[in-house]
């Protein structure tokens, strides 16, 4: 059984702060990991993914994520957030050879001015 756990439902930071959104997964096999962003009233947009090689992957708008096999984690980070980063962030896992993607419940990020 595949599970994706995002331990923080809500995170509030100030503009210019750094932020880390946490994601842990459970999956018995090789996987692809990704993060998506959803602004209010819109569909999800892809941010970044990991499937092999360097465990730190870069995405759009200064986001990066780090894969850890030992911790079964794929945490998302940004060094300096902007108010426009306020959105819901979803972590997702997909098994190799599988067409389904399993999403976490999302983390609501609020960036205060």
């Amino acid at each position: 059984t595949q599970t994706v756990s995002q331990s923080d439902a809500h995170v509030t930071v100030f503009e210019g702060d750094s932020v880390e959104l946490r994601c842990n997964y459970s999956y018995g096999g090789s996987i692809y990991l990704s993060w998506y962003i959803q602004h209010h009233g819109h569909g999800l947009q892809f941010l970044l993914k990991y499937y092999s090689g360097n465990p730190v992957v870069q995405g759009v708008n200064g986001f990066e994520a780090e894969f850890s096999k030992s911790d079964s984690s794929f945490h998302l980070r940004k060094a300096s957030v902007h108010w426009s980063d306020s959105a819901v962030y979803f972590c997702a896992v997909r098994g190799r050879g599988n067409n389904r993607i399993f999403f976490g419940d999302g983390t609501q990020l609020v960036v205060k001015p």
């Binding site: 998506y36 999800l44 892809f46 979803f90 067409n99 389904r100 993607i101 999302g106």
Partner: protein, 113 residues
């Protein structure tokens, strides 16, 4: 680039009514998905399809039918709308297999009176 179009954008129905939501994509992707998102919640997979005329049930298929008439379109039918139901239905598409991300439409907001 491509786009996913969902129609209608807003759908208001009556209890017991059969309601159909439509999704079109011009990415030429083989796999398409329907998700339900309740307010402030994560995504739940209803149906997906890996090719024309293929249907695979997700975790929330009861109460819904789906149809993949051609590669570019994927329809979802609520077989009997439930009173006071409110949710957003998101359509997505993806290249089949591999480390490929999903592309999402803007959603259809359903309200049942």
């Amino acid at each position: 680039g491509g786009i996913i179009t969902q129609t209608p954008k807003f759908l208001i129905g009556q209890e017991g009514q059969k309601l159909t939501l439509k999704c079109q994509q011009n990415f030429n992707h083989d796999t398409m998905y329907w998700y339900r998102q309740d307010s402030g919640k994560g995504l739940r997979l209803i149906y997906y399809s890996i090719t024309e005329n293929d249907l695979q049930k997700g975790d929330l298929s009861e109460g819904y039918d789906a149809s993949r008439e051609k590669k570019s379109s994927f329809s979802l039918t609520v077989t009997s709308a439930q009173k006071n139901e409110m949710a957003v239905f998101l359509c997505a598409s993806s290249i089949t297999g591999g480390p490929y991300e999903q592309y999402f439409g803007p959603g259809t907001r359903l309200t049942v009176l």
